[in-house]
Symmetry: C2
Subunit: 353 residues, 2 copies
C-alpha cells in the first residue's frame, strides 16, 4: 500500500509535469479572443410533484399597490428539479460535453467567474472547444428550494462570512478570519485572490444536508438528457459525481474530482472500472484539520476502483510545482494553470478531437 | 382623460404598426447564426453584513463520510446581495447596455430560454448587438437568501403548480388549471407553449413580499456599477424599474415595462420626465380579475410622468395585431415578434447605433 501510493504519486508527477510543459497557461492571451457560440440557453430537469394539505388559505399582495390574490398553500408543488445552463462553442473540440457540478453552499457561479473579476473555468473550457453544461444542484440557486419541514426534511444551513475562509483552506484554520480584511491570516503563498473574498461570500447560498437523494436523482436526470459526457465536480459533489457515474457508467467518459469531499459507494467501486478518473488536490492539506482525512477517503475509494481494474490518476498540485491552491482552486489566481493540468489529462484520455 | 387615453392608444398603434412593418421577425433565421461574444461572466453586487447572536453551536457533517465541522450560527452574514450575469457581444450596437429584471417568484431564467426550448429574449437582444446584464434579484436564484425571521422579516411564499397558470393569464382564471395537461383550460388563441408549462413551473422559486427595500438597494448598486443603460423589467419588477430610475434618473436612458405589476413613487413622477418609457401589455387583460386594475395603475402613473413633460408610449399588443400573449410574453410562441416591437422602439429612441 505504502509503495503503491508512492508509485501512484510519482506517476502523477510525471504525467502532470509533461502536461505542464506541453501546455503553457494561455489564459491571458485567450481572454482577448472572442468566444463564438453555436448555441446557449438553459433548462431545468428532474424533480417531482409533492402535495401539501390541511393549511389555511392566505391573502397575499405580491407587489405594493397591486391587487391582493388568494394564496392557497394547499396543493401540488414542483420540487427537487435542478437548473442547467449550457454553452455550445461554434467549433467543438471535446468528444463529449463537459458537465460542471459545484460544491456545497454554492452554485454554478463557482465556475463562471472569479471573485476578483477574472475568467473562470467555464470560459476556459469553452474557449478550448468544450460544450459546457454548468448547473445549480437541487435546492441551490436557480434550482429553487421547497418548504421545510413539509417537503425538505431538516433545516437549511447558512455559512457565516468567516466559515469558508477557515474551512476552504484560504485562511490557516479556526480563528484565521477577521471582519477586517487587513487582519485575515491567509496561508502563506495562498493563491486565493484575497481582495475578492468579500465578493466570494456573496456567492454563498443556503444549503441542506438532507437532500442528497433528491440531488442525485436530479443529476441522473441531467446525465440521461445530456450524456455521454465528462463530469467535473467539486467538494460536496464528490459523492454526487461518483454515485451518479456508478448509476450510469455507460454514459460517463471521464470523472474529474476536484477535492472531492465525498465518495461513491465503495461496495460498487467496480462500476467505475471503465471510466478514467482524475483526482486533483490543492495545497495546505497537511496543515488542515479535516482535509487529510477527506483526501485519504478519496484515495481509499479509488484504490477499490483500481483493484477492480480501473484507471485513476492522482495529482497533488504542490508535487508538480503548482503551489498555493485553496479548496476553491477554480477561483485562485493560478486557476488557468490548474485548468491546463485538467485539460491535458482529458487530452491524454483521448477526449479531445 | 378619456380622450387623451384614446389618443395615446392611437399613437401607440401607429408607432407599433410602423415598427412591425419595418422589422420582420428574424428569430428563426438568426438562431442558425453563431453568437460571438467579446466577454461573458458574472458578479454579485450590493448587500450588507448582518449579525446573528445568542444561538447554540451545532455540529454538521456536510457530506456523508466527511468529517464533522463545528457550525456556529452566531456571527456575521453577507445578505441581500444580487447576482448579475453579463454577455458582451463582439459587435455592440446598443448605445448602452440592456439590463433585464425578472418578475416575482422567478429568476433571470425568465429571459434565457422558453419552457419549450426555444431562444429567449436574452439571446434575441444579444444577437442584435446589445450588451445584456441578466440578473437574479435579492433572495432569488443565485442571489441567495437569508435567515428568517432573524434577517428577512416575514415568511417565503411558494407557488403551487396551478398558481402561475391561473394568475399569469395562461389559463382563463381560477379553476382553469388541472394536473392533467389535457384538461387545462388555456385562453383561446394563447401563445403560451402549453406543452412547456410543466417545465415552466420548474423555474419558479420561493419569494418574499417583505424584501422590496433590499431589492431596490441592490438594483441601485447594479445601476451604479453598470449604467448608463436601458432597463427592461417585468411584472413585480415594475416597482423596482420605476423606483430605481427615480433614484438614478441620469443613469437610465430608457425604461421598458413589460406588464408592470407595480409602479414608482407617484409624487416623484417628474424624476422620469427625461427617460423615454415604453409600456407593453399582452392579451386577455379585460377577462382577467386583476390585470385591468394593474394596467390602469400603470397608465395613471405614466400620466403623471407625461404631465411633467415625459415621453411615454403604450403598446397593447392586440391593438397592433399581435394576439394571444400571456403575462409571460417573453416565453410565448411569438416571443420574437414581441421583442421586435421593443427593439424597434429602442431604435426610434436612438438607442441603437
Amino acid at each position: 500500500m505504502e509503495r503503491s501510493m508512492r508509485l501512484k504519486s510519482v506517476a502523477a508527477v510525471m504525467l502532470a509535469a509533461s502536461v505542464a510543459a506541453s501546455t503553457p497557461n494561455q489564459g491571458t492571451a485567450e481572454e482577448n479572443q472572442p468566444i463564438t457560440l453555436r448555441a446557449m440557453g438553459s433548462f431545468h430537469v428532474g424533480g417531482r410533484l409533492a402535495t401539501i394539505s390541511g393549511q389555511p388559505v392566505k391573502e397575499v399582495t405580491f407587489t405594493p399597490g397591486g391587487v391582493p390574490a388568494k394564496l392557497d398553500p394547499n396543493g401540488t408543488y414542483q420540487v427537487e428539479q435542478m437548473y442547467v445552463q449550457y454553452f455550445i462553442p461554434q467549433n467543438v473540440s471535446g468528444t463529449v460535453p463537459l458537465l460542471m457540478w459545484h460544491g456545497g453552499g454554492l452554485t454554478g457561479v463557482t465556475y463562471e467567474t472569479t471573485p476578483d473579476g477574472r475568467e473562470g473555468w467555464l470560459n476556459y473550457f469553452l474557449r478550448r472547444g468544450w460544450s459546457v453544461y454548468n448547473s445549480d444542484a437541487v435546492e441551490r440557486g436557480r434550482a429553487g428550494w421547497a418548504q421545510y419541514p413539509e417537503i425538505f426534511k431538516g433545516e437549511p444551513v447558512f455559512l457565516t462570512t468567516a466559515n469558508p475562509f477557515e474551512r476552504f483552506r484560504i485562511g490557516d484554520g479556526a480563528g484565521s478570519y477577521s471582519d477586517d480584511p487587513a487582519k485575515r491570516r491567509a496561508h502563506p503563498g495562498s493563491q486565493f485572490p484575497a481582495e475578492g473574498y468579500d465578493n466570494f461570500v456573496k456567492q454563498v447560498v443556503p444549503r441542506w444536508t438532507t437532500t442528497d437523494d433528491a440531488t442525485i436523482a436530479a443529476y441522473i436526470a441531467e446525465v440521461d438528457r445530456v450524456c455521454p459526457c465528462v463530469i467535473l465536480f467539486h467538494s460536496q459533489a464528490g459523492q454526487f459525481g461518483f454515485k451518479v457515474a456508478q448509476a450510469r457508467p455507460d454514459k460517463v467518459k471521464a470523472l474529474v474530482a476536484v477535492e472531492a469531499a465525498g465518495i461513491g459507494d465503495p461496495a460498487n467501486a467496480a462500476a467505475l472500472k471503465d471510466i478514467p478518473i482524475l483526482l486533483v488536490f490543492g495545497d495546505f492539506i497537511d496543515q488542515d484539520s479535516r482535509w487529510p482525512k477527506m483526501r485519504q477517503n478519496d484515495l481509499d475509494f479509488v484504490d477499490r476502483v483500481k483493484a477492480a481494474g480501473g484507471s485513476v490518476d492522482i495529482i497533488d498540485l504542490p508535487k508538480i510545482g503548482i503551489h498555493g491552491n485553496t479548496h476553491m482552486m477554480m477561483m485562485d489566481k493560478n486557476n488557468m494553470a490548474v485548468a491546463d493540468v485538467i485539460e491535458a489529462w482529458l487530452k491524454q484520455k483521448n477526449l479531445i478531437r
